[in-house]
Symmetry: C2
Subunit: 300 residues, 2 copies
């Protein structure tokens, strides 16, 4: 089934202990859609500026990604500049230039309004609400957010959370949103806000999925080299939602498998700068690492 | 089979966001032996002062723990005072009073010298070396350490590591010892120093086991309430070594199962201050949580 993502397309300048890359393809919708395209058909709603290289659009098209919802506005593309330290934890943001993203008003093309799988990437919760009003009874709506919105637009964000099926957060976002130190208590608080499923992303420590069905724990793949963690969360979301949309049935077994596929795709995404590794991914590589993931925590 | 632990017995004063307890039973050998006693016979080599309450020794005896190697010296017992913040991560040490532990010289009683499973808890690597010289060809020697020894006695510590079968460290200790940010690279470096197995303890994020057989990932149990993390690592080690000593065979399957039992026991240990929860543990509770642990990361 088709999968719609609404998010950002960006040009990033990223520095890690392993190198520095300037004006490379970034943004939540970019990472998400390339990851999801390994599993299913994806359409993007986003905005780019006049400076956005045609070759990036070509890359998306070469993966069968539908760009009818991507508008090119006058002005420059959204830019983010960040630097990661030795531990490759949270990056220091050196600059955020919203540019054309400042006035982003997501309009879902008519033919996308009945898409059954929808991902609201990390954007202003007011925009996420506008998207929710435009789509017709999707099978699954998932959403991501960040500390900035938790702190600055808590009411609007809670309104979004109330209307989505699944929320993805990282460890500290979950604790801050719930105001609880225990991740289990934080999860219960968040599930009480509305969503049926909460996925807590924990970077190199894996991911936890909470729902009424219980708790599922997926490991993260212990990598030899992490080169650039940018986009890991969006790649996880892309693998997760891509698998679900292809699988069509959303039950606990499918959700668990989707978490593992999300982790698999994220583990590739961080092996190089920008979307470089994901753009070159082969299905056979995904299958091989999926098996390795399952082996990691098997007793027998 | 019998299991020998050489470590500390202490009186701790601990503050967490959930309370404050003064002069409660602590120390690596205490946590370790109570955990291991759920699986096998344990003997302790440690030192206490004149002020060490007889009721604590009674507790150990009630669990069948052999105290012939525990000497009572003139002076006060080793004391540690610490405070945990809201995230229950690394505690702030408010005071360390070595007291009788200052001159601790571990002498292994003759009848313990052929113990087949030996755990060198976190003490001065020079003392760990002295223990190694006193034991006769154990089946498995495991050791723990801490940043203080990695930084202050690196050569002696490397000599210990060279002669043990298994090393347990936490995440940051592994990276510091190896001088590498990637945990996979750090593990390879450490295994090259001599031990056949490295276990990286990651608190609420679980544990990783590295060896020539590959990587094993055990989750940590997502608890409702963590009251006091003190002794979690030693409780893990106690559950791990206790299971192995009872199981007798040390192969990859046994090591994996032991990691899960270690995680199970640690998950109980942090549910109350001091050794209170571990001292009340029932075998049926362990079995139940062991099953829950396996369920956590099962796809089906």
């Amino acid at each position: 089934m088709k999968l719609l993502v609404v998010g950002s397309m960006a040009l990033d300048s990223v520095e890690t202990p392993f190198g520095k890359e300037e004006n490379v393809l970034g943004g939540s919708a970019s990472y998400f859609s390339l990851a999801a395209s390994m599993f299913t058909d994806v359409c993007i709603v986003a905005v780019v500026g006049q400076d956005f290289p045609e070759e990036h659009l070509e890359l998306f098209r070469s993966k069968g990604i539908d760009l009818k919802g991507v508008t090119r506005e006058s002005g420059e593309t959204f830019r983010w500049e960040g630097r990661y330290g030795y531990d490759l934890g949270d990056p220091e943001t050196l600059g955020t230039y919203l540019n054309v993203f400042q006035d982003f008003n997501p309009v879902i093309p008519d033919e996308y309004r009945d898409t059954e799988f929808v991902f609201l990437a990390n954007i202003d919760p007011e925009l996420q609400l506008r998207v929710l009003k435009q789509v017709k009874k999707p099978k699954l709506v998932a959403c991501d957010t960040m500390n900035y919105w938790i702190e600055n637009k808590p009411e609007q964000l809670k309104e979004v959370i109330k209307h989505v099926d699944l929320l993805m957060l990282n460890d500290s976002e979950s604790r801050i949103l719930a105001g609880k130190a225990s991740i289990t208590q934080a999860a219960r608080y968040i599930l009480d806000l509305g969503p049926k499923v909460l996925i807590v992303k924990r970077g190199e420590y894996g991911a936890l999925m909470f729902s009424k069905e219980g708790i599922f724990w997926a490991p993260s793949y212990p990598l030899e080299d992490v080169i650039d963690p940018t986009g890991a969360g969006d790649s996880f979301a892309g693998g997760f939602m891509g698998f679900l949309a292809a699988h069509e049935t959303v039950d606990q077994a499918a959700l668990k498998t989707a978490v593992v596929y999300g982790s698999v795709i994220a583990s590739f995404a961080v092996e190089n700068f920008s979307v470089r590794r994901t753009a070159q991914l082969k299905k056979s590589e995904i299958d091989k690492r999926f098996t390795a993931f399952l082996q990691l925590s098997r007793l027998d």
